[in-house]
């Protein structure tokens, strides 16, 4: 296939910033040049203003298969991810039953290789996510598990984290923790601040994140394992990570932030819309600005969708009864474009959707260069349109972006030797 006149957005590519023709053959980038003539019968992609980047990779989307297929099954999750320009999604092991056996890895991998989106397995850190006994981590890693986590919503218990970090050193494994102290959070609903007071909702203080985060970094220094901090939501958290790094700490694989936390703040909650009810909660404008700067300065390596499908019976309720979580796969790039409005910012954001998550997951880098496997995303930053429910591709409608004017759009992806165009 031939991608005609695409502007290459990939700071790791020798062709970055140039508008080129790109030929894909046998699943690899065969040629990149000013002009390549199409062969007879060759599939040609052409779109005014198209940009080409490495394929987007997500970390930590919630999959409902098995156990909660009514929220999101493999078909609906991959459809949503493709619509958002993703070529691979590392899905959380918080299924029912949890993903913790070699058979579970095989089940997930059996869907890969022929669709627009490959599923990358994360495995449970503790058996049944119960926070007690380690899973068979070495077996799971050998079967393809990229990292181990008990999922967001609570930190791993200290002793479990310590043992997991220690044990995983034997095979270079990575532990993912999302710092959150459920005891301090009590029954918190939203970030603790002016908005929580004004709405009469119980607040979730920033220290619910910073206290376990500081603990995580202390355990990391002690164990010399490999830790990935997933879903940082506050400026204070970023500061703690900076202090760890400034102090010579080099065992932190990196950290992630969600596209929602880079887009919205607690102010979005003033109308009690449960689609903005997230965990960790949306915080203040100063937090959002610090997180944006963290991405632009490369201190936050990956932007994730934090995709969590919830059906109406668990989401479309009075705010306190509504479950945490929002969809994010379909909209991540477009909502990021709403503030990443210069070429320089765009480059950083694209890196945090591509190079960054690959590195955090231990995957080889895939820049847009001849000879590399062709996992690519085609998008445009031009134009804008209102995001509507018919643009969602999953089984649920819990998106906080509905009704908002969003710039740009995803045009197509290349994966598994095919061009996947979006209608």
């Amino acid at each position: 296939m031939l991608l005609r006149s695409v502007s290459i957005t990939d700071t790791h590519s020798p062709h970055h910033g140039k508008t080129q023709d790109v030929r894909i053959a046998n699943g690899r980038i065969e040629a990149i040049a000013d002009e390549i003539s199409a062969r007879d019968g060759e599939e040609v992609f052409s779109h005014e203003g198209a940009r080409l980047s490495p394929g987007f990779v997500d970390i930590g989307a919630y999959l409902g298969d098995p156990g909660h297929e009514e929220r999101e099954d493999i078909a609906s999750l991959t459809a949503a991810a493709a619509a958002g320009g993703y070529v691979a999604v590392a899905v959380l092991p918080t299924t029912d039953p949890v993903r913790q056996s070699v058979a579970d890895m095989t089940y997930l991998a059996s869907h890969n290789g022929s669709s627009a989106v490959d599923l990358l397995p994360l495995a449970a850190l503790s058996r049944d996510n119960a926070g007690k006994d380690l899973t068979e981590m070495m077996e799971l890693a050998a079967a393809g598990a990229l990292a181990f986590t008990d999922g967001p919503g609570r930190s791993a218990p200290g002793n479990l984290l310590k043992r997991g970090l220690e044990y995983a050193k034997s095979f270079g494994g990575t532990i993912i923790d999302s710092p959150y102290d459920t005891d301090l959070a009590e029954d918190g609903q939203v970030h603790e601040g002016g908005v929580s007071v004004s709405l009469g909702l119980r607040g979730i203080p920033v220290m619910t994140e910073t206290i376990p985060l500081a603990r995580d970094l202390t355990i990391l220094s002690y164990t010399h394992g490999r830790l990935l901090l997933h879903l940082i939501s506050s400026a204070d958290s970023l500061q703690l990570i900076q202090e760890y790094r400034d102090g010579g700490g080099d065992r932190l694989v990196g950290c992630t932030v969600s596209a929602h936390h880079l887009t919205f703040t607690e102010e979005s909650l003033s109308g009690f819309d449960p689609n903005f009810k997230l965990l960790p909660p949306l915080r203040e404008t100063t937090d959002r600005e610090a997180l944006r700067n963290g991405v632009l300065e490369g201190r936050i390596e990956a932007i994730v969708s934090h995709h969590r499908a919830r059906h109406g019976e668990e989401k479309d309720l009075e705010f306190s009864y509504s479950a945490f979580g929002a969809r994010g796969l379909e909209t991540a790039l477009r909502q990021l474009l709403s503030w990443a409005d210069t070429d320089e910012k765009l480059e950083r954001v694209i890196a945090a959707l591509t190079v960054g998550p690959r590195r955090l997951l231990g995957l080889p880098p895939l820049s847009v260069a001849e000879g590399n496997p062709a996992q690519l995303t085609l998008f445009t930053t031009e134009g804008s349109s209102t995001f509507t429910v018919d643009q969602l591709r999953g089984k649920t409608t819990n998106s906080p972006l509905l009704g908002l004017e969003l710039p740009g759009r995803i045009l197509a992806t290349v994966n598994n030797d095919r061009l996947w165009t979006l209608a």
Binding site: E192, G194, R202, G203, E318, F319
Partner: protein, 314 residues
């Protein structure tokens, strides 16, 4: 009682969503209704064609009776629904219940619900006008309006520059939030006072003063609005004991005796006598607690009347 003025909103979900002009309009209209309910014939035909559903998903005696009386004085048709909060855990029950009642062609809904924002949820789903009779720890707008009305009566009209201190359990109180928003719209200065565990950490962001000193706050204020200790809304202990609370944060006779000025004492009820306020203070000449109850009917008549008027004009 024709009024050319109208509320800016179709619902009364909270004082936060009302303008200062809305508040003034409600209070002015309430004054006319207070005259009505003190006449030998206490009933007017204003809402003769209006059907109101009173939905109480949480226990209430005073507020429910006050609304029912207001509705009857206005000649509205009413239906009542009560459910204990334990039987209503999920929103589909709320929506199902409400849809069932609306299928019977109800024009307005007066609702109390334990979940903050429940009325917003409902407002997005149904066509009827909604009056919030209390939503969890969020707002209780008609209580704040009747409090403001009563303060105006007691202080001779204008609340601008007047000092109102809200004492007690602010964290678990919907009355506190609505009072703060209402009093600010009327130009009063507001302070909150209580043990730090019962004062939200970020309450200052609403533009109120915070104090932990009861004696100083009593001396500071023109009106002391004493809140009920919401034992039923505390799933953890925020104070060591009621005895200690009364000794250190209660509005006691001894503390009142130390003041060198006269202040007005208010309480939204029901009172925990001997806890947040002593009987001698609650029943003293400073107290306007029973006037609050009487004014509640007039203020609720005003709210219902103005919402119905807006509905009819729409």
């Amino acid at each position: 009682m024709a009024s050319v003025q109208q509320l800016s909103t179709k619902h009364v979900l909270g004082i936060k969503y009302l303008t200062a002009a809305d508040v003034e309009l409600i209070l002015d209209t309430a004054r006319e209704f207070k005259d009505v309910i003190n006449r030998p014939i206490k009933k007017v035909p204003s809402l003769r064609d209006i059907t109101i559903a009173n939905l109480f998903f949480e226990n209430s005696t005073r507020t429910r009776i006050s609304f029912e009386l207001a509705e009857k004085r206005l000649s509205a048709d009413t239906v009542n629904f009560s459910a204990s909060s334990s039987s209503v855990k999920k929103g589909e029950t709320l929506l199902d219940t409400v849809n069932n009642i609306l299928a019977m062609k109800v024009d307005m809904v007066v609702m109390r619900h334990p979940a903050p924002g429940a009325h917003h949820f409902l407002a997005g789903k149904i066509d009827a006008s909604i009056v919030n009779a209390g939503d969890g720890t969020h707002e209780h707008p008609t209580q704040a309006l009747l409090d403001a009305y009563s303060m105006r009566d007691a202080l001779g009209g204008d609340l601008r520059g007047k000092r109102v201190c809200i004492f007690g359990d602010v964290t678990h109180s919907r009355v506190a939030l609505s009072n703060i928003f209402c009093l600010q719209r009327l130009g009063a200065k507001v302070r909150v006072c209580g043990p730090p565990t019962l004062i939200p950490k970020f309450i200052g962001s609403l533009g109120v003063e915070v104090s932990y000193d009861v004696q100083d706050s009593l001396q500071w204020c023109d009106v002391a609005n004493v809140l009920r200790i919401q034992l039923e809304r505390q799933d953890t202990k925020y104070i060591p004991s009621l005895r200690e609370y009364n000794r250190h944060f209660g509005i006691t006779r001894a503390r009142m005796d130390r003041l060198d000025k006269e202040i007005v004492i208010m309480h939204p009820g029901p009172i925990n006598r001997g806890v947040e306020i002593d009987t001698e203070v609650a029943d003293s000449s400073h107290s306007i607690i029973l006037q609050q109850v009487e004014n509640g009917v007039a203020v609720r008549m005003s709210v219902l009347y103005l919402l119905a008027a807006r509905r009819n004009d729409a």
